[in-house]
Symmetry: C2
Subunit: 182 residues, 2 copies
Amino acid sequence: MEELITLSDTEFDHVWSHFSGKKLRKHQFVIQVDDPVRYEYFVVSGCLKAYVINEDNKMHILQFAMQNWWVTDYQSYYKGTNAKLYIDCIEDAEVLCISLENKDKLCNEIHKIEHFFRKKTNAGYVALQQRILSLLTSTPKEKYEQLLTQYPQLFQKVPKQLIAAYLGVSRETLSRLYAVEK
Amino acid sequence: MEELITLSDTEFDHVWSHFSGKKLRKHQFVIQVDDPVRYEYFVVSGCLKAYVINEDNKMHILQFAMQNWWVTDYQSYYKGTNAKLYIDCIEDAEVLCISLENKDKLCNEIHKIEHFFRKKTNAGYVALQQRILSLLTSTPKEKYEQLLTQYPQLFQKVPKQLIAAYLGVSRETLSRLYAVEK
DNA sequence: CGCGCGATTGAGTAATTTCAAATCTAGTGG
DNA sequence: CCACTAGATTTGAAATTACTCAATCGCGCG
């Protein structure tokens, strides 16, 4: 789990004690719109999705979260406001939960932990910029292929209609794409 | 400049000494594709844009950077690879430059600085997620209005065709939008 | 006064969406 | 083992939306 920094056993135990574990089943929600956002989640196994539903009842997926990914409604988590996202399980999952208080406490107590989280967010920031560039510059077909090469594991777990909702195209259009591709 | 943390005078001087200042003129580049990325830039005044040019010679803007914003080609900056972005000045600007070595050094030496940068990136991460949601869920008109309410200052500095390149629509389409709006 | 850049407008075209229907697939219970 | 069902995917045709290309307009600056 921690390959960016090295912790002593006591340090690790201390860090570990600030997380709680949770087993989740397919379709189970961890966050629903308008509820308070208590935790950030680290995915030990399984796969979740973070998304919004707009007025037309269309789902738009902000993020998938697979093994070793972190996920929550960050805006609400950091600001202490109620959720604007839904997050639920695409398949059975195990997660570790950490409250904002515990996270900030750990970051204060252990400089290395703050360093760890800074590096993590930096990497996440870069990934989001890449996604924005992909959304801006690429055709649906290119977006699909970029995702396929970047996260091939996704395609074993996730129905294509969710891929479509992540890429920002209709499922019909996505379907027509790889008909052409072959 | 630093309202998230408090530094003593000596600390501040120490931090300050790791930055170098630079005055830039309109149209001047700070980063060009394929060049090494030496610095992250903090914008003291003026306005820059970070963008790519695709095969069709179309510009797509990843980020504007106004007063108090940070900007660089983060992927290349952190990985030490050559730039994939152009960054240049929309108007005359003053920036502070910090190398990755200096940034990491400061973060090591002063816990509060690492805290500062963690908080900053967290906020940036949230902003990028908002942008992705906007790109996914909103019509061009809504995107335009969201940007207008979020960063009204932008519209005084930036020609509309650059706004279009940021929102992911053609300048003609953007033009037709606010014809309808009034 | 005229140049040049940015913004607008119009017409035709290309791409995607929408809606509806048909097909396929995996899991369930008999 | 088979039939059934719900969900997922595919296909078709029409409608919508944005794009492209070209021409025009407007305005600030030398």
